[in-house]
């Protein structure tokens, strides 16, 4: 725990200083949004063992709602983000209620199919701009005062919200609620026999995760001033799995590292048109060789170094 806090403080200090050290704020914001998205996803897969393959529905759905409110209805950024998040919470509750009726692979496929249903809904609706998506979404002024069209201003708002979201997940997994989640992951029948209302706990975790994924999507929409079909496509659901797996399932900082790596690799365009193949290869290599992910493997290495074998 204490080590977690030290890492968090260092990370926060680094993030506050980063834009002044010449790192492009928009890239940082994109990383932050995806880091929050992956953290929310990790709450489900890493701590509850629920593989949702439909998280793009919450991320992209919230982006559409926020984008529509801010662009076409002239709402402010706070209203936009709150509405997007609320939409994701509601959708998460509905999807969760349906999906937790089945476990394991079934759960994954049901979430995937439900998300795909939403994908078609967004194509049909008139305000989403179809293939073009919503473009040029205004960032507006925070509470009517702080001008968010400045990248630096927006950066600190996004940083604060992401840090709060990260903190919520961290508190959740280190609370009795989080312990019940882990108990369900390890042995569901035992958790049931201990008297826990397993379905309710799972649904709560699913809704929380969906809401935070939506928050991430709503902010991404303001940062890039764009909401499009890419955000709700099932490739996005796969991407967030990749980020979490690459960083380390069920680790506190894994999703942050995974998200940062994937976003940077995409932006740097090192793979060019081989990006899709590269992502696939990373997936396969992680599943076959490094199932703990980067942070997970480092943690094991660290423990091996600091704790010499007993004589």
């Amino acid at each position: 725990m204490a080590r977690d806090y030290r890492v968090m403080a260092l990370l926060l200090a680094a993030l506050v200083a980063a834009p002044f050290l010449g790192v492009y704020p928009v890239l940082l914001m994109k990383i932050l949004c995806f880091a929050l998205f992956a953290t929310a996803f990790n709450l489900l897969l890493g701590y509850s063992g629920l593989l949702s393959f439909g998280h793009a529905a919450f991320f992209g759905g919230a982006a559409y709602i926020t984008g529509y409110l801010c662009k076409d209805l002239g709402a402010g950024p706070v209203t936009g983000i709150l509405a997007g998040t609320a939409f994701a919470v509601a959708l998460g509750w509905v999807f969760g209620s349906l999906a937790i009726r089945r476990a394991g692979i079934y759960f994954a496929m049901i979430t995937l199919a439900l998300a795909q249903m939403m994908y078609f809904v967004w194509i049909q609706l008139s305000f989403t701009g179809g293939e073009d998506g919503l473009q040029g979404i205004p960032r507006g002024r925070l509470a009517g005062i702080l001008d968010l069209s400045s990248d630096l201003n927006l950066y600190f708002v996004v940083l604060a919200i992401c840090a709060a979201g990260f903190w919520i997940v961290y508190r959740a997994i280190h609370s009795p609620f989080g312990q019940v989640l882990k108990a369900i992951r390890e042995n569901e029948p035992r958790a049931v026999s201990l008297g826990y209302d397993v379905d309710r706990v799972k649904l709560l975790a699913f809704t929380l995760s969906a809401g935070l994924a939506g928050l991430a999507g709503a902010m991404k929409c303001l940062v890039l001033q764009l909401a499009s079909l890419t955000d709700v496509h099932w490739h996005m659901s796969g991407e967030v799995v990749l980020m979490t797996l690459l960083g380390g399932l069920g680790t506190v900082f894994g999703p942050l590292v995974g998200a940062a790596l994937v976003v940077v690799l995409q932006n740097a365009a090192v793979f060019g048109r081989w990006t899709l193949v590269a992502q696939g290869v990373i997936f396969v290599v992680c599943v076959l060789l490094f199932r703990r992910g980067i942070v997970g493997e480092i943690a094991v290495l660290f423990r091996r170094v600091t704790r010499p074998p007993r004589a």
Binding site: I105, M109, Q116, V277
Partner: protein, 294 residues
């Protein structure tokens, strides 16, 4: 003649399209069911393998002059062989783990295969001509039936029946079913279970490729043809009940027809109707129509 304001001609036309789509759903979900039954893995690569079948037929024709009928045999064998290699080298290492890792691995493989085909052939679709024998159509009086489409339906249903017979009525099928119940016990009887698993995966993959070759003259041959279709097939599988052979065939065809009907009466719902049915089925029968709860 009209039914609820829709000309009979149009209604039967859409039903025919629905029947064709249903045939593809049936063959693909059957392949998934067979693989899931013995390997307990959702083969996320299935869509990519279907796409490979179509592309191998197209490459065979344009580069090597391979006829459609040979492609129908060669492409499934080739793709099935690739599947066998994947099972031997990768999937095999995951059986002792949570089944979710199998899903994630096959998802990664699907990205790799699709990425390679995108780079090699671009995203625009290629067309594949209908073989001469099956060109043209027959006028049945109430609807004009293109011969090739009739052939697709017949071939798909025949393939489903052959697979059903293999699994339910032969000794090999008996081993397969025993393997899904208790692999360790079966192994102690001297059956080579790992080989059985490998062949099962190969067969399921070959089915996907077979569907791909059938699809080549109907749809555009393009790298994303599989990923578009496979999500619907997953929904079909959830509705039918995972791993049920009969369930996948009946639900596949039935949902194709329902989708066709929806296109006639409520066109804007046609893309989502299968997912809506999935939600309703899940509420009433969480294990699917033909599924057993595990």
């Amino acid at each position: 003649m009209e039914i609820f304001g829709i000309p009979l001609q149009g209604l039967f036309g859409q039903l025919l399209v629905g029947l064709i789509n249903g045939s593809f759903y049936a063959v693909l979900s059957l392949g998934l069911a067979i693989i899931f039954g013995l390997l307990n893995i959702i083969n996320f690569t299935h869509g990519a393998q279907y796409m490979m079948g179509a592309f191998f037929a197209w490459i065979g024709l344009t580069k090597f002059g391979l006829s459609y009928w040979w492609a129908l045999l060669v492409a499934p064998l080739l793709v099935g062989a690739i599947g066998v290699v994947l099972e031997r080298t990768m999937l095999r290492r995951l059986y002792h783990l949570d089944h979710l890792y199998g899903l994630l691995l096959t998802f990664g493989l699907a990205l790799i295969i699709e990425g390679i085909f995108f780079n090699e052939f671009g995203s625009s679709g290629q067309s594949y001509d209908i073989p001469d024998v099956l060109a043209g159509g027959t006028n049945l009086g109430f609807v004009f039936l293109p011969n090739y489409r009739a052939w697709v339906v017949v071939a798909s249903i025949a393939m489903c029946l052959v697979s059903w017979f293999l699994i339910e009525r032969t000794r090999l099928g008996a081993y397969l079913r025993a393997g899904t119940e208790n692999p360790k016990l079966l192994q102690s009887f001297g059956v080579n279970v790992p080989l059985l698993i490998t062949l099962t995966y190969g067969y399921g993959v070959a089915l996907a490729a077979f569907a791909g070759v059938l699809a080549a003259p109907v749809f555009q041959v393009s790298p994303d043809m599989g990923s578009k279709l496979i999500i619907v097939v997953f929904a079909v599988v959830v509705i039918g009940g995972m791993g049920s052979i009969l369930g996948s065939i009946v639900t596949g065809l039935g949902l194709g027809l329902i989708e066709g009907l929806t296109k006639v009466y409520f066109p804007e719902f046609s893309a989502t109707i299968i997912f809506l049915i999935m939600v309703i089925v899940l509420l009433l029968r969480p294990a699917g129509l033909f599924g057993r709860s595990r």
